[in-house]
């Protein structure tokens, strides 16, 4: 029985009497070098009924390719999910993946901390990577610390920068104090070095012309009892198909819009610019917009190519959620609005006058180019 033990720790979950424990000894420093390679969590999402990899997986691969110039090791992606997902993985090879570790099991169909931690932990113990990266998504932020605690590992959350130093250590840089300071962090004593990375921070890089890579099927041992949470129901809000984290252009609306009806104007602008509408917290609280499209500390952190803030004053809680956008445009009637401090282009004025004029210009431009 013990011969089959992978030290994944799932038995500890099942035992209700705290009778089991695993003593994990610290790794002697000279053994740290034995850990090699980068594993990325290939997080899947269900987009209108179809499973696909989250954008952040490709962004992590892009970064891994860059890190690998210093390391020259293997880049692998751990894909956990229900049976039948192997068809999805070809795409990964174009973006720099050397090996895909395919972990299929019925119990991995729905994400659970218990199930995913158990399987991923076994994989890490088996493969001994030197770096494991996760998207700092809702799921990544739950999963990574659970694995870190089970394996006694350092973990740096929500990184916006990663590099390799002269000692071949992973330098993990992250914002703190609402983005007012940056901190660079090492995990000198533990392997793998683990980090979650903020989506929309790195760019995806297509590195290969052909799909050539290895798929290694991992035999997954998972018991139903080791998953202690049960999904009773799942409610999708109407705005479900819109994921503002994935949008390249966001038109964001705040209290300055005045009324719920006026939001129509913002949708018109979004349509013209092929953008997506997002919102400040104030409008969600008024019930004019829904929480899934809220930008900011208690909503989503986004980093689109273009962010247009309409009637948003820009409280710090809002700024921390959007200030890494490539281009920021703000229209606000209050010249003192903090949003202007982060704007690349700002107009102090009445959005109800400026936006219709702007839409006219866009339409005229289109006609003349026809």
């Amino acid at each position: 029985m013990l011969d089959n033990c992978t030290l994944c720790g799932s038995c500890i979950n099942v035992c209700r009497y705290n009778a089991l424990s695993i003593e994990r000894a610290m790794i002697p420093l000279e053994d740290l070098k034995k850990f090699e390679g980068i594993i990325i969590w290939g997080e899947l999402e269900n987009k209108s009924g179809q499973l696909q990899f989250k954008k952040v997986v490709y962004e992590l691969l892009g970064k891994a390719l860059e890190l690998n110039k210093e390391l020259n090791e293997q880049i692998s992606v751990a894909v956990l999910g229900p049976p039948g997902i192997s068809a999805l993985i070809d795409e990964l090879f174009y973006y720099g993946t050397d090996i895909v570790y395919l972990c299929e099991h019925e119990l991995l169909e729905d994400f659970s901390n218990d199930g995913y931690t158990t399987v991923f932990t076994s994989l890490i113990i088996d493969k001994k990577p030197s770096i494991v990266l996760y998207g700092a998504t809702i799921k990544g932020r739950e999963l990574a610390p659970r694995i870190a605690a089970r394996l006694n590992l350092g973990l740096t959350a929500d990184c916006t920068g990663l590099s390799i130093n002269k000692q071949k250590q992973l330098v993990q840089t992250r914002p703190a104090f609402g983005g007012n300071i940056m901190a660079s962090i090492l995990s000198p004593y533990t392997r793998p070095q683990m980090a979650t990375v903020r989506p929309n921070t790195f760019s995806k890089v297509k590195s290969k012309q052909s799909k050539k890579g290895i798929i290694e099927k991992i035999s997954v041992k998972l018991e139903k009892q080791s998953i202690r949470t049960k999904i009773i129901e799942e409610i999708s809000s109407k705005t479900e198909s819109i994921n503002i984290e994935d949008a390249d252009i966001l038109i964001s609306v705040g209290r300055g819009i005045g009324s719920k009806e006026n939001i129509k104007l913002v949708h018109e602008l979004a349509q013209e610019l092929k953008g997506t509408v997002s919102s400040s917290r104030a409008l969600v609280e008024l019930g004019w917009t829904k929480h899934p499209i809220q930008v900011g500390q208690s909503g989503k952190t986004i980093s689109p190519k273009l962010y247009i803030a309409l009637g948003i004053s820009g409280a710090i809680q809002h700024l921390v959620g959007m200030q890494t956008s490539d281009i920021i445009i703000a229209i606000n009637s209050d010249p003192e609005a903090p949003i202007f401090k982060v704007a690349d282009f700002g107009i102090i004025g009445d959005l109800f006058e400026i936006i219709p004029q702007f839409l006219k210009l866009c339409r005229k431009n289109k006609e003349s180019s026809l």
């Binding site: 610390p145 350092g154 993990q172 940056m182 799942e234 409610i235 921390v320 282009f345």
Partner: protein, 266 residues
Amino acid sequence: MKIIVTIKQVPEANKVAVNPETGTLIREGVESILNPFCEYALDMAVKLKIQNPDLNVEIIVISMGPPQAKYALIRCLELGADKAYLLSDRAFSGSDVWATALTLKEGILKKIGNFDLILAGKQAIDGDTAQVPAELAENLGIPHIYYGFDIKIDKKKINVKKETEKGYKVIEVRLPALVTISKGPSTIRRLPSMKDMIEARKKPLEIINAKSLNMDENKIGLNGSFTQVVKIFSPPTKKAGEIIDGNDSINAAEKLFMFLKEKLIV
């Protein structure tokens, strides 16, 4: 029923800056507050206590932090907590996620013992990491659910409404469990009354040092941390953008159009 709420005192985030010469944090004059998400977690505990009078709910708040973190705990006692523990010792300072989660675990097991539910804020507004609760849950061997915004107790189980990227899920879990709270109950919170403040002073608040937790000194604080901060610095400042007067809306719209055209967006 025992509900533990883990608490963090944080500096008001928007006031912290880096001294450009020394590269250290300037904390002077920065006020500390109870982390807003921890306050939501406490509100949730209070709501569960009110909703389930038959369960005899006791709300215990626990924090690891400097001596002044006691004021955040006093605030919790004013807002409805029954008992508070502060794990405070110079030896704890410099703790990263791992060392913090381990210290909290020892504090909970050695001072509180059995419990039914742990509530935590979804993240602290200074570090924003959201990693301690999951590590604490793993250390205690209990399941965790992140981003809860409503909880119903059903005997030995709870149903948690959890935010997802698309909406929400209802998740059932057997107690004991840990839930992090992303939004407070929709009831409007009252400010503590003078009576609450006086009552709070009578409630037990115990300050616990490293020695009384009997922890290996290599496992706490900076020594017990697996991550090391090697550098802090100010984020690169963005160069100031162009701000124009929009009184002449036609002109402003044209300038906006040209700006976007330059960026190849229109």
